[in-house]
Symmetry: C3
Subunit: 118 residues, 3 copies
C-alpha cells in the first residue's frame, strides 16, 4: 500500500500520521481488508442511505450523483490520524485505509499526508 | 474566515491544525463552499435521517430537538485535523470548515484550536 | 476514566491526545455523559439505520451482526484527537469519550493512545 511505503521511507519511530482528503465528494474510511464483500456492502449501504434521487436535492450542479456524494462524504469524513508505533502504522490486523470515491465516474483525488514524530 | 486568520497569525510554516468542538449537539464538517444549496440539502438530509419525532427517543431533557442533535453530532463528528503546508491550511479548492449547529435555537459554541508545527 | 488518568500521568501541559481504535466493528464517539438514555437512544438509532437483516448483506462471515457492525463503525469512526490544555483534556462539560461496541457479544478491544506535547 502506498501510504505504508511512504511512512516506511520517513524513518519515524514514533509519531502520528494524518491523512487529509482535499475533496467534498470522496472520503477516507478504515475498513476490513479481507473480504471484498465488505466494500460492496458498504457501497450499497451508502447508496441506500443517501440515494441518487434528483427530486430530493436542490444542488445538482454536476449531476444526479453530486449531492449524494457530498452527503456520503459528510457521513464518513475526510480526515484520519493514525499513530505510528515502532516505525509502523498502528492499524489493527483487519484494518486498511480506503479512499471512498462517491462520484459515479472516477476523479483524480489528492490526499495530503502529514507525519509528525521522532 | 476566522480560523484561517488565526492560523495566519501563528506564523507556522508546516504543521497540523486540530479543531475540537466542545459540545454534543453541534459538530464540525468540511463541505462545499460555493453553492449554499449544499448546506440546505445537508440540513434537510440530517433532519430526515435523525428526525425530530419525540416518540422515537427516551432522552428529551431539553426538548424535541435534543436527541436528534446528539445523533447528528455522532454521525458527523466534533473533531477535524487539517495539515498546514507553506503557512496555509491544505484545504481543497472547494472545501470550507463549517460549525454544524444541530439545536433548533442557536447556542454559543466553543471550538478549541490546537496548532502544532514549525 | 482510564483515559483521563493516563493523560494525568504523562505530565503534559499543552498538547494533543489521539485515540485510535484498532478494529472495524467498534468505534469511538464523544457523547453526553449525564443521561444514560442518550446511550440507549444512540444504540437504538444505529440498530435502525444499519439493521441486522441478513438478506441485505453479502458479507456475513462472523454472523448476522458482522456487516451491521462494519457499517456502524464507518458512520462513527475509529479515531479522535482531543487537545490538552493546562494539563487536562479540553472536553466540554457534557462530553465523555465512549468505545462503541457494535458486535452483539462483547469483544476485547485495543485502543492506541498517542500524546504529543510539552
Amino acid at each position: 500500500m502506498a501510504v505504508r511505503d511512504w511512512v516506511d521511507k520517513q524513518e519515524i519511530t514514533a509519531g502520528l500520521l494524518t491523512l487529509f482528503c482535499r475533496h467534498t465528494s470522496a472520503s477516507l474510511v478504515i475498513q476490513e481488508n479481507a473480504d471484498p464483500d465488505v466494500r460492496a456492502d458498504l457501497e450499497t449501504f451508502f447508496e441506500t442511505i443517501a440515494p441518487e434521487e434528483p427530486k430530493r436535492y436542490r444542488h445538482d450542479t454536476e449531476g444526479a450523483d453530486d449531492m449524494p456524494a457530498h452527503l456520503r462524504t459528510a457521513l464518513t469524513g475526510v480526515q484520519l490520524s493514525i499513530p505510528v508505533v515502532e516505525g509502523e502504522l498502528a492499524l489493527g490486523t483487519w484494518q486498511a485505509i480506503y479512499l471512498f470515491e462517491h462520484r459515479a465516474r472516477p476523479h483524480d483525488r489528492q490526499i495530503v499526508l502529514h507525519l509528525w514524530g521522532d
